[in-house]
C-alpha cells in the first residue's frame, strides 16, 4: 500500500503543465493518490484503535487463569504468597495502597493546583504569567524515574529524620501518623505523586479558567466585588465540572504511576492506617513482579492486577474526557 503511494508520489511531483503527463493520466493518478492516502491514514487511525483494543484483550487474556482460579474474591483477598503449593494471590492490599497514595496526593494537589491556576489567570502580574506557567509545566517533564531517585535518596530520608517525628509527636493520636518511621512508605509515595499531578491538574484548570466569559467577571467586578468575590461567584462556579475532570485525570495519572512509586513505597504487603510504613500499589506490584514471576499463576495474577488498574484508568479517563468535551462544546 505504502509502496504504491510512494511511487505515485514520485511521478506526481512533476511540475504542473510540464506536459509530461496527459490530462487524463493525471486525473487517474490523482484519483489513485486520493484513494491511497485515504486508505493509509484510515489504516493508521484504525491501528491506534486496534492497539487500545489489543491492550485490553491481552491483559484480560493474560489474567484468565487467575480470574478463573480466584474469581472476584481476588479483589478482597489480602495476601500475595507465591510459594507453591499453597499459592494465594489477592489485590486488596495493593488496591488500598493505590487508593491511599492517589487520593492523598490529589488531596494535596487539588487545592494547590487551583490556587496556581488562579494565580496564573487572575492574580499574577501579566508579565510573570507565561514564565511561571512554563516552569510549572516543566515539572511534568521530569522523568518519573528521576523523581523516584530523588524520592528514595533525598525526600525519604528527609521525611524520616525531620518530618515524620514531628508529625508523630503532634498528631500521633491519629492512626495515620502513628508508630514506626521509615524512609519508604505511603507518605513519600503520596508526595511524589503530588509533584507529578500538580502540573497536569493546574494546567488543565488554567485552560478552563481562561474560558470563563469576560463579561461575567467584569460584571462582578463592576458590582464592587473584590477579586476573591469575583472568583468565588463567577470563575469557580463556571469551571466546576472542568475542575472535577482535571482532578479525575490527575487521579488516573496517579494510580497508573509505577516507577517512581516502586522506588519510594517499599513494596510491602498489608493494610495499615499508618502512612509511614512501607506499602505497595497495583502499578508498583506489577512493575516489581512481572519479570521473573516464579509460576504461571503468579504471572496471571500480576495480569489480574493489570486488569483492575486498566479498568480504573480507562473509566477515569473516559469520564473526565466526556466532561471536558461537553464543556468545550458549551464554550464554543
Amino acid at each position: 500500500m505504502e509502496g504504491t503511494a510512494a511511487s505515485v508520489g514520485m511521478t506526481g511531483v512533476a511540475p504542473p503543465g510540464s506536459g509530461a503527463l496527459g490530462r487524463r493520466q493525471r486525473g487517474r493518478l490523482d484519483r489513485i493518490g486520493d484513494r491511497s492516502l485515504y486508505v493509509i491514514t484510515l489504516a493508521a487511525a484504525l491501528l491506534s484503535a486496534v492497539v487500545l483494543g489489543g491492550i485490553g484483550y491481552e491483559v484480560v487474556h493474560g489474567a484468565s487463569a487467575s480470574i478463573s482460579h480466584f474469581g472476584l474474591g481476588f479483589i478482597t483477598t489480602n495476601n500475595w504468597d507465591p510459594v507453591p503449593p499453597h499459592e494465594v494471590y489477592g489485590a486488596a492490599s495493593f488496591i488500598y495502597g493505590t487508593a491511599v497514595s492517589s487520593f492523598g496526593a490529589l488531596l494535596i494537589a487539588t487545592p494547590l493546583s487551583i490556587a496556581i491556576a488562579l494565580f496564573l489567570t487572575e492574580l499574577a502580574p501579566r508579565r510573570a504569567r507565561t514564565p511561571i506557567g512554563t516552569l510549572v509545566e516543566l515539572l511534568a517533564a521530569i522523568p518519573s524515574v528521576v523523581l523516584g531517585l530523588w524520592g528514595i535518596l533525598v525526600l525519604g530520608p528527609f521525611l524520616r529524620d525531620h518530618v515524620e517525628p514531628g508529625l508523630h509527636s503532634v498528631l500521633g493520636w491519629i492512626p495515620l501518623f502513628g508508630g514506626d518511621q521509615s524512609p519508604v512508605g505511603l507518605l513519600p509515595a503520596m508526595l511524589i505523586l503530588t509533584i507529578m499531578t500538580v502540573p497536569i491538574v493546574s494546567s488543565l484548570t488554567r485552560e478552563i479558567f481562561l474560558t470563563v466569559p469576560k463579561e461575567s467577571k467584569e460584571g462582578a467586578l463592576a458590582l464592587g466585588a473584590t477579586r476573591w468575590e469575583m472568583i468565588k461567584t463567577t470563575v469557580l462556579p463556571y469551571s466546576r465540572p472542568g475542575i472535577v475532570a482535571a482532578v479525575i485525570l490527575g487521579l488516573g495519572r496517579a494510580i497508573g504511576e509505577a516507577i517512581a512509586v516502586t522506588q519510594v513505597i517499599g513494596g510491602a504487603l498489608g493494610i495499615h492506617a499508618n502512612l509511614f510504613v512501607p506499602a505497595d500499589t497495583l502499578a508498583s506490584r506489577i512493575a516489581s513482579n512481572a519479570t521473573g514471576a516464579p509460576t504461571a499463576l503468579n504471572l496471571a495474577s500480576v495480569f489480574y492486577l493489570g486488569v483492575i488498574l486498566l479498568a480504573l484508568s480507562v473509566i477515569f479517563n473516559a469520564v473526565a474526557r466526556l466532561i471536558i468535551r461537553r464543556m468545550t462544546l458549551k464554550g464554543s
Partner: protein
Amino acid sequence: MEAASTPANHPLLQGPPNLKRRRRVNRALEVVAWVSAVVAVAALFIVVASVFVKGVGALNLDFLTQGQVAFGPGGGIGNALVGTGIIVLLAAAMAIPIGVLVALYTSEFAKSRSASAIRYVLDILNGVPTIITGLFVVVLIVKPQGHQSGFAGAVGLAIVMLPLVARSTQEVLALVPSSVKEAGLALGVSRWRTIVSVIVPTAFGGILTASLVAVARAAGETAPLLLACSIFPTTTVTDPSQAMANIPIVIFQYSESPDPSKHTQAWAAALILILFVLLLSSIARVFSARVKKRLEGTR
C-alpha cells in the same frame, strides 16, 4: 493600590462596614496563590538542583563512554546511552509517521463523528498506565521471542508516543488556515497533493514540535522498558533484537542498589537524562509558540 488616584474620603470608598474584612480575605487569597505557585516552582528547582549537585561530580568523558561495571565504582553508562539512543530512535520512527497519518485522517478525511471517536480513542490510549503498555508488549513480543529486546522496548515507547504525536499534530493541522487548503483545491489540485505539498509543509513546524515533545517523554519513560528491556549485558549492544542497556533502567536499578557509588552514578545518569529532556521540552516550547503565532498570523 486601588486608592492611589482617589482621595481616601471618596464616597465610593465609604463602603459597607465589612469592607475591611472583605479586603483581608482577598489579600489572603492572593497570598495563598502566590505561595502555591512558589511551592510548585520550588519543587522543580529543588529536584533539578539536587540532581545537578549530586550528579555533576561523577560526570566526565569516561563515564559517558565506558560500559557499566556490575559492582562497585568505576565504569560508565556508555552502553546505556547507545541503547537508549537506538530504542528511542526506533520508537520515534514508528510512532511519528503513524501519529501524523492518524492526525491527517481525523483532520482531512474523517467525518466529524469518526474524527471525534478517534480522538477519544487517542485520549484513552494516552491515559493507559505505561506499565500496562509494558504488559502488552510482554505478551506481544517478549514471550513469542523468548527474551527481552531493544525492539520490544521501542514498541512500548512507540505506543506511549503515538497519542502524543497524533493529538498535538491534530491541533496544529486545525490551525492551518482553510484559505490555504481552499486555494489549493480551487486551483484544481487534487486532495492528496494539497495535503502533501501544502498542508503538511505549512504544519511542518508544529509536527516537529509534537515529535520533540514525544521524544522527550519517551527518553525518560521507564515502565514499558522495565518489562520489555531491563535484563541486559554491561557491554554495548547495537542489535535491537537483543536486550540492550538504557538510561532509565540504569537509573532505576542503581537507585535501588545498596552501594553508594552506584547512587552517585545514578545521579549523574539522571543529570544527563534531565538535561536532555528539559532542553528538548524548552526548544519545543519556544518553537511551538512561534509556529502558532505564524499560523494564526496567516489566518
